[in-house]
Symmetry: C2
Subunit: 358 residues, 2 copies
């Protein structure tokens, strides 16, 4: 297969981790006789620095022409600490999501057997957790009109039936291929937009009689996710609640450096770790590349290259089993860098049967 | 001291747990020679049922004339499952908060030594956690203009400098009397309202040079609260984020049935458990009354009756130590009902030195 992949490394640890994912994809291409080409684009603080624009036209062009996009991370403490800044790195990420209409963000939350001890949660609490979060990604309070004054500021959270229906159908279908359970998370006891979510999703439910629909309030869901994560199969929620719940869910897995995601629309698809840019950790070789590498696996899945994706995931599993991991997970060996983890997984792809500790 | 206390039991388990708190307050009045009078008002689904209004005028009058309000819980599955309902129980609670201008909601999150094993989190993770959450309670997306149509719905999240400043000062001051750390939680990389929060709070910071201010994004905070809760001293946040974080924080304590809160304004003060109405658990004697009883202790603190408040808290501690607790916490004895727990704490207040297991 020929794939033209846009690579947007972004800020902070973005470039380092993305480089490992690209390495894995290149190894896959060789092993399976695919032709993957890569074109790099500027985004975020890096793009502001060079062009004044967090999402240059050139980057949009690259993304629109690509079959898929691999995204790194975005943000910079400089802007985090300056609430007055009008131009912000995050506008680059939000811009791409919107321009390419990537309305469905899928975030798998899987408790790895080998990492059960790393979690803040008790082992028995998280064992066998396997959740798929469907987060709406191109609407809600992220994209409603914003007003910023010196004494007053506001954001609008708006949803249309169309925006809810299209992702809800996908979430119901995902549940059908899994444990047939869908949990809608909203705050419909307070918010009008949430009431529309609940109404629309309840109206669609009869079309999926084999899926059990549960509705939870976000405050309650934030608690239940920790108390009893195994109760969840597919979670469907709006943009902001999805942002919060999915980062919270990283505690189940043991490190946010492990969580990948796919952001898909009808025409385009982007693959990105859920973690941020962690400016402070940049260029130290300590960033965990696995979230980015697993995002590359999701990219392959997107093109039905499941065998290839599984090989990457097997490499990740093996690296975790052998403790070939960055310091966020590793207490066994010292000095295992971002690149070393990437090298290990590359080697594994080249030679799945022989890769070993030494 | 003479105190006129309005009691709004509300819905679901609200009446049962509130009854135990009232019992504790009555015992305190006897022990310390205070005169506490109680006047009950209708609110929520219970009020809709009887008057068609979730917050009848009569209830507002009772609250306005009271020195303090003891609130139970609100909500009913009937309304939860009907997104079309225009009149909703929650409007009663939100209405009181707004009418009485109870803009500061204070939610203590304390890991009880005797309950460290009950948490989903590992003991070493939570030991010694002691967080005070300052949640803004009368503005933000809860109270902005709402539009509900069949195909579109929206909510506005608006904040003014004034609204932020008044609670921020209180949070800074609370930090001064504690560990001198304040964490502002917002989403200022995306929301205009959050940027105003960050700006205003950063501007106030120099007035409190002995307080270390940290700013976190809500997604990150939802993770950090679980990974490393001990890093937090006072958390300051807007209405919706406070709702989510404080319910999430209940996992640290071991049961949401333990979390009390104070909702205060310049003129009025209301004391309420953070848990909901749990219609399904109502009238079974299984509801944990401790959140309500600890809310009564916060009520006493509010009037500088610290010795009285401490006595209640000692009673709670003792009940936990002796496992005189409802099923959410109790694996040791069966059949310890809501009322039994209340009775135990009442006995303890009457006779702190003698109360024992039998
Ligand atoms: C960087 C930020 C704008 C972004 C978001 O809030 O969507 C991130 O937290 C994420 O979850 O992808
Ligand atoms: C019942 C509901 C409206 C309320 C809220 O969201 O504020 C509750 O969750 C709380 O935290 O007090």
């Amino acid at each position: 297969m020929k794939l033209n992949i846009a690579v947007l490394p972004g800020d902070g640890i973005g470039p380092e981790v993305t480089a490992q994912a690209v390495k894995a994809l290149k190894a896959i291409a060789v092993e399976f006789n695919h032709i993957f080409t890569f074109e790099t684009g500027l985004v975020g603080a890096a793009a502001i620095e060079k062009t004044g624009d967090p999402l240059p036209e050139e980057t949009i062009r690259i993304c629109e022409n690509a079959d898929a996009i691999l995204f790194g991370a975005i943000g910079d403490t400089k802007y985090d600490n300056d609430p007055n800044a009008e131009i912000r790195p995050e506008q680059g990420l939000l811009g791409i999501r919107k321009v390419l209409d990537l309305y469905t963000n899928i975030r798998p939350v899987i408790a790895y057997e080998d990492l059960l001890n790393k979690s803040s949660l008790k082992k028995k609490q998280i064992k066998d957790t396997n959740i798929l979060i469907y987060r709406e990604l191109t609407s809600g309070i992220y994209f409603g009109e914003k007003k910023m004054g010196d004494d007053k500021a506001s954001d609008i959270c708006e949803y249309t039936r169309f925006e809810i229906e299209r992702i809800a159908h996908l979430a119901f279908k995902a549940a059908q291929s899994r444990k047939h359970k869908l949990a809608l998370v909203d705050k419909s006891n307070v918010l009008a937009s949430s009431r529309l979510w609940r109404k629309v999703v309840q109206e669609l439910a009869p079309q999926y009689p084999d899926v059990k629909l549960d509705c939870l309030y976000i405050d309650n869901a934030a608690m239940e996710l920790i108390i009893n994560p195994r109760q969840f199969d597919v979670i469907l929620t709006e943009n902001m609640f999805g942002d919060i719940l999915s980062e919270e869910a990283s505690v189940i897995v043991g490190s946010i450096g492990l969580l990948a995601s796919a952001s898909t629309g009808d025409k385009h698809a982007m693959f990105e770790p859920i973690h941020g840019a962690y400016t402070k950790a940049a260029n130290k070789g300590i960033a965990n590349p696995i979230a980015s590498i697993l995002s590359a696996a999701m990219l392959l899945d997107h093109f039905e290259l499941h065998e290839e994706a599984d090989l990457i995931r097997d490499g990740v599993d093996k690296s975790l089993k052998l403790h070939i991991t960055t310091p966020d997970l590793n207490t066994k060996y010292e000095h295992i860098t971002t690149t070393k983890v990437g090298d290990f997984i590359e080697d594994f792809i080249n030679n799945p049967d022989e890769t070993n500790l030494n």
